[in-house]
Symmetry: C2
């Protein structure tokens, strides 16, 4: 009650300065954004949710290099309001139709001293606010360089946050759950090792950032439509609990170079008192431009297996030989090299994978380590590291392609760039053409290690432009892209739906590198997945990695039931069954769920959600009447109670429930699960127990 | 005499240390290089010319990053000597056959503490020595990063040098003639402004560096075959007169990244007691690999005019409109722009140039400013600056091409990259294909301004690799390249003869930017031209630039006779007649020499030469019996006495002599010349006076 009074007072004070505040409400009226200029002519905004402050008065603007800043001295030329309401059909997604409904406020500002123009466009959705800066064409602003973005997100208290360290090169960190005030103290411990990383502040964190207030408000800060700009990070002032925008600099420490007319990406603040609304939000996609591709018929969701986990665990190798101290692609002769005997991407092994895929109905087979160069692929700032077209002697592209085709399976290409970006761009046309010539329609690309050009960062404007270039060029070739170690997505897949996946977070591979936190997957949908799907590569059944590689004692912190649930909770049009066929063959009854589960959906229902604790989602498979339910559970055992009221009234279904066994334990007994079949209807209610790091998966098929 | 004694003592002392010295002599015995290891196991060399020390004992080796240095602790594994003598035919050149005759010493070294191998390969030619470092494939050396090249060039005294400031981005400086000891004091004054420049030391100078000793020895230091390495500069220790190699670093300050097996470029020291030998030397080409192209029939020398000088002088503009504050290629609409009325690359003007070229027998017409983007092309670190395929509204590519074809003239393409190198590489295939589709066979490329990727230098390994990439890709398209502001050549045109020219020095354009020194062209053949031809763009007849543009008071520091001579003295297979047709039409009798002069040669005779003072060269036009003679004169008026004994015995010729008039003066009366026709034979002797900044040109045709 007290807080509400302060809030009202604040609104009053603002108007006292004689600067007219302008309000913008969400369609349902729950979200109210107020824009005004302060006494310095600095743009400020604040956001309330259901009459409670969610974002306190926060400044907007930029400091610029070599010219006057654009953070104060503004007057309002005019404002325009409008309403937008449409429904659009994504090429793939969590639902077949997406509602894009918002109210908009466009504020046209003029900086009196410079006669420069800057607009701020706000859009209020039911689940939050997006805003961006726009620099119209004008006589007094052409080229300009951002020194710092001064956008603030002023929090109302010492919220609980799910955060990873701010970094210019990687998002592959475990999430830390802490009070905002605890970030500084926990930062060092949170920065775990990576092949390329650069942190910038002991209170710097990445977006999307998920928070929860003591009053039960869920707040998520991210960005949408990151095009020709650098990645937004947040630096917390932990005295005032104000987040300040922190853009990723280039090699010289400078931030985006812009030319008017241009727009920044959208800054987004999602707010709800129900965590499920954060998962259900399509704000990030809606703030992106509509699909830029005329024909999207060639874009298809993919369920796949691959030659990958055996290398990640150290059981096999990407490399073909141990002969070479270093590799020069145009000089090294592989034909005389001694095979190391551990090279997994060989004809025999790949055919086994193709057979397995065909037998179990998978769409594709990914093969990593098929092309020459892996003996010497990272850590040396190597320029010409791969050519993307030359296979190892034991991998016959044509033979494999013909075999896969005969089995009705598609091969998935792999392009590790080693972050040698010029080299990749030089080979891109040839590499994509090679794919088309050999029947590959999708590529997993990788950006391991420090960027070349040296000193550039994975998340600088230079690199953002590269990732975009690769996506758009791939679209010209009708190629789907799944980019790893690239920038985390910001909804761009709406515009370029051939971007069918990204890694850009701590994926399943870390379960073979020491393990991730057992509740990791209850956080990712609230953070990394806000901007687009993740190629999380779930489906690990053998949690004791030493069974694959005696020298690797890592443990997969998850139960098998949890692994199954991920196919529902971690939405992606690209889903891998990442474990080895040998391991699936030991648990074919559980494997059945992976075979059955869909990868594209008509509808999604967010049944239960609490970041860091649990997520339960039901999804209706596209073009069918089948439903799949997934529950992942976090830090403590929990009873999940769900209603199946999303099923069609009056219809009868058979549910197959894959759940943690009573004595399942993610650490000591992860492979214990129960499978139960039962008849259900839309009046059915289920109560299922999930252990720590556990969960359940249900397939529901019309009888 | 005293000096000679010291020299002998030095040799003796070296052997005293018990390290066997190994000598290598030139085929004629005049040049003697001696290699040894000093007491630290550091490789050292020295060079004598006709028994006089030319290079004193100088160290060899490298310091490396993150690992042991390779500058000492070596022992000699073995040495190999060999002799090579061949004659090869260049695709174009100063002569139709080039003799490549040298003795070679290969020293195989082992660093005992690291068990690493390094070879040094020396080649002794009659006019000097080249050596390079070779890193063979070996177990203990794969990737390595050079911290500093420790190669020394120890001079024997305080020589006179013709130098330009060491710089990572430009060679566009006037040469300073001074004692070595005076470099430091003259450095600041020598660094004139450029759009991109970065100097590194007050005693840092560029190669090729021309010197003259008090004893009359001419010494030139340069490099050959600069591939996958960074540019060699020299830093003088002006206490000891030792030059230390100084490699161009990358954005992070680091120097080349290498992978064994690999070789460095050759370091070259030319030595003679006759300056003409320096001009006649083909050492730099000979140290490059033979031609890499199977078919070179499409590579043809070119004499051309162009739409260029009128923009350089400020009479016209590259840009089409003054409407835009900035240009975004994919957003700016030129169709509605107001023409500025000064855009030179318009259909009408270009057709005039085509007519002029056809009338006077020129092969080609260069047009700069034909493509959109010139309103906003430099100074803003702009990424997407040109697309290389979109013409301005007033330039019709097809119409112009058809018109040129009908007149028997080739159009020459222009690609200004603005040093946005990623953008150029992204467009390179399309740009080259556009050329082939529209009948262009040659391109002038430009690298004005600071490099993108930001912080990179024009002469770093990264950029060396780019220039090479552009040349090799052009060869695939059968395109000839004339790259401006790129790295100065190092003889690579032997291997890729489609590199028909470079600017990479202070060209004629500076005569419109304030003027160059009147003796500039008597230095360039001893420095910049050592590595390959220069697109110097001679032929300016109107020396008072204010006649073209009232706002430009620059003066061309040259007489017309001097301008004519440049077509002979500044060898290039690509020669422009740079002035405007309007100016040539006023002096058609002098213009006749430019029309007549050849651009490819069977033979060249270096009649007189003294750096900074005068150069007189006679060349026999390829496949004819016609000779052309050029004399450029430096700082004082001078009588040039030459014999025509190079003409065929017994044959009669008619010589047309274009000479400075008596009262000619490069500053006050530059347009006064005389033209005299006379009969000559191989017994004729001529005595001709050239004024300061003057010269003469002679065409000699069989009667």
């Amino acid at each position: 009650m007290k807080r509400q009074n302060i809030y009202i007072l604040l609104f009053t004070l603002l108007t006292c300065f004689g600067v007219t505040a302008q309000q913008l409400s969400s369609p349902d009226g729950d979200v109210v954004m107020e824009f005004s200029l302060n006494s310095d002519g600095a743009p400020v905004y604040q956001i309330a949710f259901k009459n409670k402050a969610a974002v306190k008065s926060s400044k907007l603007g930029f400091t610029l290099k070599e010219t006057e800043n654009m953070d104060s001295g503004f007057s309002v030329l005019d404002t325009q309001t409008s309403t937008f309401d449409e429904t659009w059909k994504p090429v793939w997604g969590e639902e077949s139709e997406i509602k894009n409904h918002y109210n908009e406020l466009l504020v046209r500002l003029k900086q009196e001293s410079t006669e420069r123009l800057m607009n701020i466009r706000f859009r209020a959705f039911n689940e939050g606010v997006g805003f961006r800066y726009e620099f119209p064409e004008q006589p007094n602003l052409g080229h300009f360089i951002i020194e710092d973005e001064k956008t603030q997100f002023a929090m109302t208290g010492d919220h609980t946050a799910f955060w990873i360290p701010g970094d210019y090169d990687t998002q592959e960190y475990d999430y830390t759950e802490s009070r905002l005030s605890e970030i500084r103290g926990l930062m060092d411990k949170s920065i775990t090792e990576n092949l390329s990383q650069k942190s910038f502040s002991s209170t710097g964190v990445q977006t999307s950032l998920m928070m929860k207030t003591d009053e039960g408000l869920y707040i998520n800060i991210h960005e949408a439509a990151l095009i020709d700009f650098s990645v937004l990070h947040l630096e917390l002032d932990d005295e005032t609990m104000v987040f300040n925008a922190w853009l990723t600099p280039d090699v010289q420490g400078t931030k985006p170079y812009l030319i008017a007319p241009s727009n920044t990406p959208w800054r987004t603040v999602m707010i709800s008192d129900d965590a499920r609304d954060i998962l259900a939000s399509r704000m990030t996609y809606n703030l992106n431009e509509p699909c830029a591709l005329e024909d999207t018929s060639w874009i298809k969701p993919v369920k796949y297996v691959g030659v990958w986990w055996e290398m990640i665990t150290g059981k096999s190798s990407w490399s073909y030989t141990n002969d070479f101290k270093a590799v020069k692609l145009d000089a090294t002769d592989y034909s005389k090299a001694t095979p190391n005997g551990t090279h997994a991407a060989n004809n025999k092994r790949v055919k086994e994978l193709i057979d397995f895929a065909a037998l179990h109905g998978f769409d594709g087979v990914l093969v990593e380590g098929w092309n020459v160069g892996w003996e010497d692929w990272y850590g040396h700032s190597k320029d010409y590291v791969f050519d993307f077209v030359t296979p190892y002697p034991d991998f016959d592209v044509d033979e494999i392609q013909a075999y896969a085709k005969s089995k009705g399976v598609e091969m998935i290409m792999h392009h590790e760039t080693s972050s040698s970006v010029r080299n990749y761009e030089r080979h891109l046309d040839e590499a994509y053409q090679f794919m088309k010539d050999h029947g590959y329609n999708a590529v997993k690309s990788g950006y391991v290690g420090d960027i070349l050009p040296r000193g550039e960062n994975h998340y600088s404007q230079w690199m953002i432009n590269h990732y975009q270039y690769a996506i758009e060029k791939a679209a010209e070739y009708e190629i789907m892209v799944n980019a790893h170690e690239a920038v985390r997505p910001t909804g761009i897949a709406r515009t370029y739906p051939n971007l069918i996946g990204n890694e850009s977070a701590r994926g399943t591979e870390y379960q073979a590198f020491g393990g991730s936190k057992p509740n990791h997957v209850t956080v990712l949908p609230f953070t990394r997945l806000i901007g687009g799907p993740m190629d999380y590569t779930p489906g690990i059944f053998e949690m004791d990695i030493s069974k694959l590689n005696p020298n690797n004692n890592s443990h997969v912190n998850s139960t098998i039931a949890n692994q199954l649930a991920l196919y529902v909770t971690m939405y992606s049009p690209l889903q891998m069954a990442a474990d080895l066929p040998e391991n699936y063959n030991k648990f074919l009854d559980a494997f059945q769920f992976i075979k059955d589960v869909a990868v594209d959906w008509d509808k999604s229902m967010y049944l239960e959600a609490e970041p860091g604790n649990y997520i339960t989602i039901a999804r209706k498979a596209k073009g069918t009447n089948n439903w799949f339910v997934g529950n992942v559970n976090g830090k403590v055992s929990r009873e999940s109670n769900i209603s199946l009221d999303f099923l069609d009234k009056g219809k009868k279904y058979i549910a197959t429930i894959y759940a943690d066994a009573k004595d399942a334990d993610y650490k000591t007994n992860p492979q214990e699960y129960t499978i139960k079949k039962m008849k259900v209807t839309n009046t059915s209610k289920l109560s299922l127990k999930s252990v720590e790091g556990g969960g359940y998966a249900i397939s529901i098929v019309e009888e």
